[in-house]
């Protein structure tokens, strides 16, 4: 008997039903659940954004908070001081971050390995201190921070981040089997060999870096609009770099859906930990990071692929 739907169509139907369900959530769920889902989606974009650059090229980006904070700052200031409508302020922040990332990537991506990671931390720390100094006070309000009201409802915010997360995953999926994605993987495996094969490694790395900064920046803008507040230590917080890394490690580095799964699972773990073990939250967080690296470096999806439960495909 012929199946009612081909496998491809069944997957499409599944995605359609899931999206319809997610879109309809604000109509019946409580604010708590909408907030939780909003955070999951924000961190999904952060993690996917980190993964699209670091997971594929092998260059650990320890400056994710830099992209998040920079874009968040630009859009928050536009909303607070210049009365921009949020829908216009967000992309301006993200595009600004993308443009600055061209320069940053061009300069810093020549530095390899651990040094790149350290220089990104240095960039984040330096930018944080710079935004807090009195010299930039007229623009950034200094260290006291910027409280603002964007006039956006929780449901609208949720739908916005849902759309962004959807497109982020679609982009990651497309990249996973594109030639661009393969070129990035070649850089991860052996950069010299990649160069010998005629891959313009610096250019490919910069493109991935900008894409990552843009997506993450957009999510960062939404994040700080949701918080209604921004200040330097909050915007360029190392936690905003570490959490997405842990989430990606959790789900599986270099996979398409790993960041989504990691962000979802880890946000729930975070909720429980934060409620039960507030004072020791960071210790448990650090412990999880260590255990993941030592015993579980391939992540959940990698583990499932290794055992043959999931097909060994780059598309997952």
């Amino acid at each position: 008997m012929k199946a009612l739907l081909s496998e491809k169509n069944r997957i499409w139907l599944g995605i359609f039903v899931l999206m319809a369900f997610l879109i309809s959530i604000p109509f019946f769920a409580s604010d708590y659940w909408i907030t939780l889902l909003t955070l999951i989606l924000i961190f999904t974009v952060y993690s996917s954004g980190w993964n699209v650059f670091s997971g594929l090229t092998g260059y650990t980006n320890f400056g994710l908070a830099w992209s998040i904070g920079l874009s968040g700052y630009v859009s928050s200031l536009l909303i607070a001081d210049y009365g921009f409508f949020w829908l216009f302020a967000w992309p301006v922040g993200a595009i600004f971050t993308g443009i600055v990332s061209i320069g940053v990537g061009y300069i810093l991506l020549r530095i390899k390995g651990v040094y790149f990671a350290i220089s990104m931390v240095a960039l984040t720390e330096g930018t944080r201190e710079l935004f807090g100094t009195k010299y930039l006070k007229t623009v950034t309000h200094g260290g006291i921070g910027v409280p603002f009201v964007a006039g956006i409802g929780l449901s609208t915010l949720y739908w916005a981040i849902l759309v962004l997360a959807f497109f982020t995953i679609v982009i990651c999926y497309r990249i996973s089997f594109s030639k661009f994605g393969l070129r990035l993987l070649t850089i991860r495996e052996d950069e010299q060999a990649a160069e010998t094969l005629g891959i313009h490694t610096t250019r490919e790395k910069i493109i991935a870096f900008i894409l990552s900064a843009f997506l993450v920046g957009l999510a960062g803008s939404i994040h700080f609009t949701y918080q209604n507040y921004i200040d330097p230590s909050f915007a360029f917080n190392i936690q905003l770099t570490l959490t997405p890394i842990v989430m990606t490690l959790f789900g599986g580095v270099g996979t398409v859906f790993g960041p989504l799964i990691g962000a979802t699972l880890f946000t729930f773990i975070h909720e429980i930990l934060w409620a039960e073990l507030t004072l020791l939250y960071m210790a448990v967080f650090g412990g999880i990071l260590m255990v993941l690296i030592l015993f579980f470096p391939q992540g959940l999806l990698g583990w499932l692929k290794e055992r043959g439960i999931l097909p060994r495909s780059r598309k997952i």
Partner: protein
């Protein structure tokens, strides 16, 4: 002019302690091949070690500094044997993320048990005059202690058989292994020495600066700047780098602001990596 000389001395004294922190980091990085992001946390633990020895056991802080070295050495050896040795053959970024986790784990535990209170060891307060310069007693003693430990380290690495074996392991692990050097043991000893240096630096720091559970972060960022300035694995470079960073910090604090002084490590790292990624000095 006396003011400037005092400022310069203050910078050097600060720098000698930073150099001690930086040397521990660069030693482990160069020989073991691991970036120990948790190094700053061992500095913090060293500081608390001296603090508790002073306030609970009424131990002379100078004695705690000497005691911190063997205690932290053993701790480092154990940590390396149990945890970090597994990562020696892995991608270097695994160690980076793992030690980041370790760093968070340690400072949060310290915060949990010892609270966020700022503490200090009230020992050797006040100033004295030397050749027309007014110097702080505590800082001068720290400077002398840091220099003694540095000199001991240099002599150890240069002349002792372990020191030679460590340098051989650093230069070429395979050849060292073929020559009959137990490189695994040398990595363990080096890791212990790195942590021991960190602990000693922390104990010295507690003599005059305030200590708190999250102090490690500011020391690790300076230590990274020092390693980058001096060149990876270069102990002498780290000493020079530490003195440079300390002097710069004293100057910027004096003439600009304390806030600007905090940007020094990040700016140094970025500039040196772009202009001269091998560090300022020849190995």
């Amino acid at each position: 002019m006396a003011n400037f000389a005092e400022l310069f001395m203050r910078g050097l004294m600060l720098g000698s302690v930073y150099a001690l922190v930086g040397m521990g980091l660069t030693l482990v990085w160069g020989v073991v091949g691991l970036v120990n992001v948790a190094h700053g946390e061992f500095v913090m633990l060293g500081a608390y070690f001296a603090f508790w020895a002073f306030s609970l056991l009424h131990l002379n802080p100078l004695f705690s500094v000497a005691l911190a070295i063997p205690v932290f050495f053993v701790a480092g050896v154990l940590i390396h044997r149990q945890i970090t040795e597994r990562l020696v053959k892995e991608h270097e970024l695994s160690a980076l993320i793992l030690t980041f986790g370790m760093s968070i784990l340690i400072w949060n535990l310290a915060q949990f048990f010892w609270t966020n209170t700022y503490r200090s060891v009230p020992y050797l307060t006040g100033n004295f005059t030397f050749m027309g310069l007014v110097l702080s007693k505590g800082k001068t003693v720290s400077f002398v202690l840091a220099m003694v430990i540095t000199a001991a380290l240099f002599l150890f690495l240069k002349y002792s058989s372990w020191g030679k074996a460590i340098r051989a392991t650093s230069q070429n692990p395979e050849v060292a292994l073929v020559c009959g050097i137990d490189t695994m043991k040398m990595r363990m000893i080096t890791y212990g020495m790195g942590i021991g240096l960190g602990g000693a630096a922390g104990a010295i720091i507690s003599l005059q600066w305030v200590i708190f559970p999250q102090m490690g972060a500011s020391y690790i960022s300076r230590a990274f700047a020092i390693v980058v300035l001096g060149g990876l694995g270069n102990i002498h470079g780290a000493l020079a780098g530490g003195l440079i960073i300390g002097t710069l910090e004293a100057m910027v604090t004096q003439y600009l602001s304390a806030k600007m002084a905090q940007i020094i490590p990040s700016v140094t790292i970025l500039i040196i990596l772009l202009v001269r990624p091998t560090g300022l000095f020849k190995k």
